[in-house]
């Protein structure tokens, strides 16, 4: 029997209020049964054999207040780097959105509001670590080294945007939700078998936690104690499906209990908390102590993709409330207090970001169309005879795919 004591979380981490309702199996569905068993004198009908707690980490609140005792040790330069990556991410994101609206880009999945979750976590990765994104990780990907041009190239419908540069140990975007999870576990397993002291990080959304692949991937990671970190960006929506329709569990972090390893919920708009949790989990993985599930509680400020219109299914007020928790804003406030941010610095960062993004757009738009041969070329290491024939007929333009 599992009893849940729920503790309500209010915006500020210091205001934690214990709900008095100890929700037990019996009390919830049959107070009578409980009472009668009490009358019989059976004070505790069943024996507790395991207890679990789910913890929450927030370091930098939405007003920029920071719990310095918890703050990860980062140099001023590093804090500025975090800020700069977040600004670059947002600049690229906004540009991609605009390009799509102008018809210069295909469907695009914005990460607006999720910059801290992506930058904070990817910043904790080593180049030798491996990363398996879902489809909404532009921020993490460019931090890992992907030329921003390739983000645009991918979303413009060109596979070459998925040709991750040699040396960058990242997988391309995965569209089928959650299916990257067992693959990431497999890479972690390979690293472990090889004795490589690296970690693997894979990104997933709240929606992905409903898919069998999530379960199976985390289960394998637990059983084989694999060096992998499951970074869940709980942005509270899966297209139009709210979190409450995705799971009845109060947190996603607690799902780790099913697999016998650690889970933690962090404020996903707090770049320090994300970075700290990710760093600890990655170090633990590299040291051979197994997997971790990190739930970054955040919010998808934009539509699901440029093909979506979220106003049909969610309230503007909800979005507004979350805008106030903006991850860049709060870091800025913190930095300003610390003397690490001023308008001139910001201008310089913003300009650099804009220039980088504009250069990426130019670069991408100058790329000639892909060679149609590419449709065939990469199907196998060596083209089988029949496929070679299909390609040759196609190139001869006689429209005859075979023969």
């Amino acid at each position: 029997m599992i009893n849940c004591s729920r503790i309500k979380k209010y915006g500020n981490k210091f205001k934690i209020i214990l709900e008095n309702a100890r929700v037990t199996f019996i009390s919830r569905w049959s107070r009578r049964a409980e009472k009668s068993s009490r009358e019989k004198g059976a004070a505790m009908p069943k024996k507790t054999i395991q207890t679990f707690q789910v913890e929450w980490l927030q370091i930098l609140d939405e007003h920029g207040n920071c719990d310095e005792t918890l703050r990860p040790s980062l140099s001023d330069k590093e804090i500025q780097k975090l800020y700069e990556w977040m600004v670059l991410t947002r600049t690229l994101d906004e540009k991609a959105f605009k390009l799509q609206r102008e018809g210069r880009l295909g469907t695009y999945a914005s990460i607006l509001g999720q910059e801290a979750a992506q930058v904070g976590s990817a910043f904790a990765l080593q180049p030798s670590d491996w990363m398996f994104p879902s489809f909404r990780e532009a921020g993490a990907s460019i931090l890992r080294g992907l030329p921003p041009r390739m983000i645009l190239q991918y979303w413009s419908g060109d596979e070459r945007g998925s040709q991750i540069p040699e040396g960058q140990n990242d997988f391309p975007i995965t569209i089928p939700v959650g299916t990257q999870i067992p693959i990431a576990a497999g890479a972690a397993w390979a690293a472990k078998l090889r004795g490589d002291r690296i970690a693997v990080m894979t990104y997933l959304g709240d929606g992905a936690t409903s898919k069998g692949d999530f379960h199976e991937g985390l289960n394998f990671a637990g059983v084989f104690s694999l060096p992998v970190v499951f970074l869940c960006q709980n942005n509270q929506w899966a297209i139009s499906v709210p979190l409450s329709r995705q799971t009845r569990s109060k947190t996603l972090a607690q799902k780790a209990i099913a697999y016998g390893f650690d889970g933690i919920q962090v404020d996903g708009n707090d770049v320090f908390a994300v970075y700290k949790a990710a760093k600890e989990a990655l170090e633990k993985a590299r040291a051979g102590h197994g997997p971790t599930l990190i739930e970054c509680l955040t919010y998808r400020i934009g539509d699901h993709t440029t093909a979506d219109d979220a106003s049909r299914y969610r309230k503007a007020e909800e979005v507004e409330a979350w805008r106030k928790k903006d991850p860049i804003d709060r870091l800025k406030k913190y930095m300003a207090n610390k003397g690490l941010w001023n308008e001139a610095y910001h201008q310089q960062v913003a300009t650099a970001a804009r220039e980088k993004v504009e250069a990426a757009v130019k670069e991408e738009e100058a790329i000639p169309l892909p060679d149609p041969k590419d449709i065939f070329r990469y199907t196998f290491g060596e083209l089988p005879e029949e496929l070679k024939q299909q390609m040759e007929n196609f190139l001869r333009g006689d429209g005859r795919p075979d023969l």
């Binding site: 469907t107 979303w155 419908g157 089928p176 992905a208 409903s210 069998g212 329709r245 995705q246 199907t379």
Partner: protein
Amino acid sequence: MAKLTMVEAINLALKQEMERDPAVVVLGEDVGKSGGVFRVTQGLFERFGDGRVVDTPLSESAIVGVSIGMAAYGFRPVAEIQFEGFVYGAMEQLISHASRIRTRSRGRYHCPLVVRMPYGGGIRAPEHHSESNEALLVHTPGLKVVAPSTPYEAKGLLVSAVRDPDPVIFMEPKRVYRAIKEEVPEEEYSIPLGQCRIATEGKDVTLIAWGAMLQPTLKAAALMGERGIGSEVIDLRTLSPLDDDTIIESVKKTKRAVIIHEAPRTCGLGAELIARINEKALLYLEAPVERVTGFDTVMPLPKLEQHYLPNAERVVEAIDRVLSF
């Protein structure tokens, strides 16, 4: 009579069937409040409520799995797989259970389930959003597979699918969703499963297509018509079970055939059609049956997809080949 898009026609069929039969429920990802990513279920949530139009957690396998249980209990679920490229996760439930529960239980249980899914390319969508895998489903005994080509067809076939006592995979050509409008009666009508439609009659060549491929096929037929060549265009409609008779009769008449599909060529449904023509009309053939299909490669992303998808020009070339063989 109102001119409707295929999206509107399907929506109308769903609405009317739900009104007619309280056992019909709609479930899937984003089918509720949002009305579906293609708006096919728009308005149903408001009309029938959360009990009959249900947004589910993200899991194709469970969407089909729970639907089987609901069907066994007496409901007629209409499940949506958001894109056909995500149906693979549900293959085990479809192949091992939906298609088999009737025969496994020797008729004690059956599975009146419709699985709707938009399929096919041509809308410049990301990877996995343009697949055409009808052959996988046609190869599965115990499933029926339907692919309408126009709004009128879609409404009539969906009504039959919903009323069918067995699982029907309803493949909706997303490229057609809003591309054509057609007069669609508000009144109830249905188109029986298992029968092809002769879209245009002709005596020189039989063209067999379904779903979104009807449009380029008809265009090719029109181009050939200008050159005095009569094409008999067969809209397959039901991909399983196949309506051999209509096909064989046509081929016996025209003595030449071209099959058009988006799916990869090898082991596609085109192969089965050729096999049946071979078996039942070999001596009538004046030329090998031609296939105009996708390649045996992964469907490319938008920048290359036009090279992959059959178009009227490729169909015309194939007709020329069968005529000049």
